[in-house]
Symmetry: C2
Subunit: 350 residues, 2 copies
């Protein structure tokens, strides 16, 4: 079926109206009318082909919340009218060790991205959530509680799970001293989750002004990374660091903050990082790790936790026809903390 969407026709074009083909609802598929779609920094990177892997047209969007309109013959557990979410993946091989362990994001045969993935059904590539409808295999559809403000749930599907998964995998718990480095879409969720898990949360940021807002989000302390004395006072004191900085940066000051055997997990910088001093890791058996979104079961766990604890993203709503302006503001970090597109605006434009 033909569906209205917005996307980029080339690396240099703006995001503009398009029509895309969506598959019919297969036996294991769920058709969804999209209500809201969050705007992730990677939407912008892919639209502009910053990573050199874009396939055009690029229809971004992998923070999708909407209502089920149709389910395939073999679908159990979902019915029309259900509130659901779709995150960064719409398929995986479902047979490799990673998939068997519920870690579809690390599928050894390659998970299928919600956009710019290889479309196994229609051929070509997948199209994301800047569109009116999407059809997704039931295994990649999440249940969303109607206890939460729906529009503010959308960013949980990427920014939320990206921060939740490492906090859980590295077993952040009550009493741990956790630093969240960088306060953007990812960082603001990291602060909320770490606080909800009972950690003592320190917002580590370049700007004292940003830090104040972090306290509203749940941070107990603010550490300004440009303040050498303050950084020195926290040396060797952190049980865990969640590093959400999205660009190349010096890791050494953050490594110094870790306790012996503690880990800093990088979730934001999908790009080359500066070098670090070997002694920084050696003297204290410290660790640097990476983490990519989260598995489907873990994403559901996160959504359920959010429903129980009343956690959502801080969002600024936009209409689809202002998306190019939103990208410009994102590049200046001028958003608290995630743009979400009200997809009614697409229907109005259509």
């Amino acid at each position: 079926m033909q569906v209205a969407a917005y996307g980029a026709k080339s690396a240099t074009s703006d995001i503009e109206p398009l029509t895309i083909e969506r598959r019919q609802t297969g036996a294991h598929d769920i058709a969804i009318d999209i209500d809201f779609c969050g705007v992730c920094h990677s939407d912008l990177h892919m639209a502009r082909n910053d990573w050199g892997v874009a396939m055009y047209p690029v229809v971004p969007g992998h923070e999708i919340v909407g209502r089920v309109t149709d389910v395939g013959a073999h679908v159990k557990g979902f019915k029309p009218g259900d509130l659901v979410g779709v995150g960064c993946m719409v398929d995986s091989c479902q047979s490799c060790p990673s998939c068997d362990e519920g870690l579809e994001q690390y599928c050894e045969n390659g998970m299928v991205g919600t956009y710019n993935g290889d479309d196994k059904v229609l051929g070509g590539h997948t199209y994301g959530g800047y569109s009116g409808k999407v059809v997704v295999n039931e295994k990649f559809v999440l249940r969303v509680s109607d206890k939460l403000e729906t529009k503010a749930v959308a960013p949980l599907l990427c920014a939320g799970i990206t921060t939740w998964s490492p906090l859980r995998h590295w077993n952040v718990k009550k009493g741990d001293k956790v630093g969240v480095v960088g306060l953007g879409g990812l960082g603001h969720m990291g602060v909320k989750f770490a606080a909800a898990l009972g950690a003592h949360v320190v917002m580590i940021t370049t700007s004292a002004a940003k830090g104040e807002d972090a306290k509203r989000l749940g941070a107990h302390e603010v550490l300004v990374s440009k303040d050498a004395d303050a950084m020195a006072a926290h040396t060797g004191s952190f049980d865990f660091l969640l590093n959400t900085i999205p660009v190349k940066h010096d890791l050494n000051p953050y490594i110094a903050l870790l306790k012996r055997d503690a880990t800093m997990v990088i979730v934001g910088a999908v790009e080359p990082l500066e070098g670090f001093h070997g002694a920084g890791l050696i003297m204290g058996r410290k660790r640097i790790a990476g983490s990519l979104i989260g598995g489907i079961a873990e994403t559901q766990e996160m959504l359920d936790f959010c429903a129980e604890h009343g956690i959502t993203s801080d969002v600024e709503m936009i209409n689809i026809d202002t998306i190019n302006n939103a990208y410009e503001r994102m590049q200046k970090s001028d958003v608290k903390y995630r743009f979400v597109i009200d997809m009614k605006s697409l229907k109005a434009a259509a």
Copy 2:
């Protein structure tokens, strides 16, 4: 007491004969006549003040094996005539959480290095094993089995424990695919230990010629890191990497070799490393860590394992008056795989 030794009087001087002061045997001390002392790359770095922390005169040497000549009134478990070893540490606070856990190398109040540490008894700084005698607190003295060739035991006290500790801490076990990167003093022990622990050991080296020798040491495969096709064939296949490269290098090719959730431990490069690509860690939740020597109990465990499995270092014996030449050869990696000083040569020179 005055003891004959060899050391550097300044950053630019050769290693030359000196006389140093050793303390009397205290109630908890053990006095040792040194038979053999291994030559570690850090001896050279410290003698030349490459790390900017040297205190002169520098008497290097922290791979010490000798015989007990005297024990303090409260010493239990050691007696004159016992064969013993001393490694990189001669003291620590023995009251912090790291010391309580048997991880004296990470003592939070600073472990006392065997040389160039703060001497708590005599004041000034500690002097290492390029000398005839040493007096050490019993807690930092290791038992050495006389089943092993004594001179080839000396390097176990640093090169041995430095590679053993991460292999054990990261639980390398039978059937794991383990890569040892770099074949020098550390790497050759890493190969021996990983093989003895039952791992499938791949020697990863720049030179196919070096690799052949690695097979003699126990490696099952050789991977030449300059061979892009060979490296690609091993992508994502290693359970653990022990990185012994002693100098700045590109981490990206090695990160690519790791399986999901696998760790590369850096033990050699106590210096700034090149940057790496964030995606390399993120796509697979991979980890980079550091590791410093090992605790005293773990060092004893390693020595006992060596006695049981007949493992020693491959050594080239030298007399103390050829140490400057040995340093020059070490800088060219011209040693298989560790120089050991026969300390009888010091007595002969005295």
